[in-house]
Point group: C2
Chain length 465, copies 2
């Protein structure tokens, strides 16, 4: 495994605050299992029951953060003291707190490699461990996988709509806090952005960082001309922000500077009309090589419209809409128990509540392709079933006995893989609106098992995948 970056996320963990990044009930359940002397093995799977709006596929991301978490999960003394004093733990044995003091994750993790395209109801992670270890991890795993997968998927849509023009992630200021900004830069890059404005993402994750200039820089000088000239003295060939007062006038002032402008940036107004005017003015001035960068409340729908109309735009900066996945800001990933080993026997489990039924048993996914290397079908099987002929298993083993068994790829490998993966999607899955039925079926054995577990629980609902 490559050296993990000495990231803020990571450092946060190696000191404190890490094990408590969870819901209280994970810890009360842990105490209940422990004091009942029931530390049996269990398997949980993380999957998404429903797509966000207008999505027909998802791009897996967040595994690196999940692995960092699981391999470094520890309780500090101060954290244990805090729990001891918590009213919910007043009847809990001292042995439990001693157990927490030595706690570490010793289980097994299977996962979709980051960048994999996948569909609803397909497991992204599968965790097998003594039940307390697997249970405590639920909240953190969900929060990183849900968020990064949400953003990698949104980025994939935006990049597709850019039709080959570069998309830079620009949303740190509207992300849900500084850590979300960092994770969005990472997931956005996996989803196909060419880089980010977030400097920490450059420092920690080696993602290319880009920047132009702010309106405040222009405004701090008496004239735009002066601001442009002063900036160029220090940062040669910058991207000139031209819309502080009036975009067209701004472009003319850029041309009036002595420097050849590398790029101009339009951040407001009608971007289609302005980019066309800008291109004409620049071309007439002999600056055919000067690029046009456009930003300001962009999303996949707007980009699609601009690129369809062949707006002469070279780069897009996308912020708020990308980092918040604004049209649907939550990926409803869930983490469900699928089996327990009690008295040496594996017992398959499923939930049967109305509208919230789950599939029992530890699973694998096999992907089949057509002659053009497009996805033909995914088959969800039990993990010990025979491999369907020609099927590629999607879930790979990452941790065994709590240790990494498969090196995690570098970020550029992940990004390239995500690009290849996107190319395996049949075109109907790439539509920007509507939601396609997933090309997924259950193996006969899994389907039979599910029906048997559900009917035992007396569920009246019929479940379709």
């Amino acid at each position: 495994m490559k050296d993990l970056p000495t990231s803020s996320l990571l450092r946060l963990r190696s000191t404190s605050g890490h094990a408590l990044e969870t819901d209280l009930y994970e810890l009360t359940m842990a105490a209940a299992y422990f004091d009942n002397k029931e530390i049996f093995k269990a398997t949980f799977e993380l999957f998404v029951r429903n797509y966000p709006k207008n999505r027909s596929y998802l791009v897996a991301a967040g595994l690196e953060q999940a692995v960092e978490y699981l391999t470094q999960l520890r309780f500090t003394e101060a954290e244990i003291e805090f729990l001891k004093k918590h009213p919910n733990f007043k009847s809990v044995s001292d042995d439990f707190f001693q157990y927490l003091d030595k706690f570490k994750f010793t289980g097994e993790l299977w996962a979709l490699p980051e960048g994999t395209v996948f569909f609803r109801n397909e497991p992204i992670l599968r965790v097998t461990a003594p039940i307390i270890e697997a249970q405590i991890a639920e909240t953190y795993l969900l929060s990183v996988i849900n968020y990064e997968t949400l953003i990698a998927t949104k980025a994939s849509r935006i990049v597709q709509s850019a039709r080959g023009k570069g998309v830079v992630e620009f949303g740190s200021r509207r992300a849900h806090g500084p850590q979300a900004a960092l994770l969005a830069a990472r997931a956005g890059y996996i989803g196909g952005c060419i880089g980010t404005s977030n400097v920490l993402a450059g420092y920690l994750y080696k993602i290319p960082t880009y920047g132009t200039m702010a309106h405040s820089f222009i405004m701090s000088y008496d004239s735009e001309e002066e601001a442009f000239e002063k900036f160029c003295r220090v940062i040669p060939q910058p991207s000139f922000l031209v819309d502080t007062y009036d975009s067209i006038e701004g472009i003319k002032k850029v041309i009036a500077t002595e420097q050849t402008p590398g790029m101009i940036r339009l951040d407001s107004g009608d971007r289609l009309e302005l980019s066309r005017k800008a291109r004409k003015i620049l071309d007439r001035a002999g600056y055919k090589e000067t690029k046009i960068f456009v930003s300001g409340d962009l999303n996949e729908y707007i980009l699609n419209n601009l690129t369809l109309k062949k707006a002469p735009i070279d780069f897009f900066g996308v912020g708020t809409e990308l980092v918040t996945s604004r049209d649907d800001p939550a990926l409803p990933g869930i983490y469900k128990l699928v089996s327990v080993t009690r008295e040496g026997r594996d017992v398959y489990r499923a939930k049967t509540s109305e509208g919230k039924m789950t599939l029992p048993g530890p699973k694998q996914i096999y992907r089949l392709y057509n002659a053009k290397r497009r996805i033909r079908e995914d088959i969800i099987t039990l993990d010990d079933e025979r491999v369907p002929y020609g099927g590629r298993p999607l879930l790979l083993k990452v941790l065994e006995n709590g240790d990494i068994v498969n090196e995690l790829p570098a970020i550029d490998e992940i990004r390239n893989f995500a690009k290849q993966e996107r190319e395996t999607l049949p075109s109907q899955f790439l539509r920007l609106t509507g939601s396609e039925t997933p090309p997924v079926r259950l193996s006969t054995k899994l389907e039979r098992l599910a029906r048997s577990v559900w009917s035992k629980r007396g569920s009246r609902s019929r479940r379709r995948i």
Copy 2:
């Protein structure tokens, strides 16, 4: 100032990764100012130009994180090395990097106290400092203030719709990463939640933490009865989750346990109908004191409907919709230059781009109340204007020369203050839908200044506040 919690956020900062939590252009602009020898004083203001959908007021939050940031902002050696090698800095002087090595924030901060209700276009923060210091802080300040204010505002709407019933923040797993989960717990509490499921928020911020049990706990046993009994042995009088297989059957099984149930939790199905049935069953069994807790995709609109119909629900757990502010997940706060001091003279600045005009000059807000202590009017003035008669100044000084001058309040004080503040809103601002015109006007002097600055820039647009 109270001891700052040794938070993960904070620790992150005191080691590394802190100063780079910014957009690249903040640093290129810093280099441009520095190498042009232009480290003049500047004032920036952070404000929200437009409300999120259906909002007519906002609840200020995030100041504590902003203060932590400004007082601890430093560059490490490794971070400076990273910037030195960055292509955008190849023409930057060595002096600049030496400056970064000694960099700290030495300026002044004025802010709305957390919990203050306020309106669009009103400054939340006002930063006055040497321009590089004020500029570098932009991205981080926006990300914490935007997010916490967004969530405190959403919580305020949800709590109002609960009509006196307790609301618990339950959304860590759907927040945009673990840090967002922590900040959402904090902002949710400020907005009126009675607590959170996030254990770290309890540990760091002393927010009450709550938890029930997960479906997985029930599912790991052969029967619900066994699961309930085992749990009660360790965690007395828990909240019983009854909907794993069938909610009504689940309630009957709770009653069959020997314990008096403190609470039951309904997490799926028709919550109105189920809560009524549950109440009847519990009452008939003599458990009139047993509380009903409801969760599962709740928001202010659903709560309003349930409480209007007098559903017999005692507590609500609200997750995804709260922590992502799902109906509108971004607060479009911006941070704009309002004045610079050049050659000893204060010059007022404003942006005049189409649809994005700003108000020049450092400002204060004065609030006037009617006889019933409801907000009558806010007057935005220049910071050195005469106080309007009876007006309460809303922006308070927090930092001077980079040091804290006013102790920050404890979280419970903030929460109580937010409650009082909400009570000063005239009822039309509390409607769940639509958006009310803000009760805000500009002082004559500010209005005159704005017109003069705008017209100098030749803006053709008319601006209304």
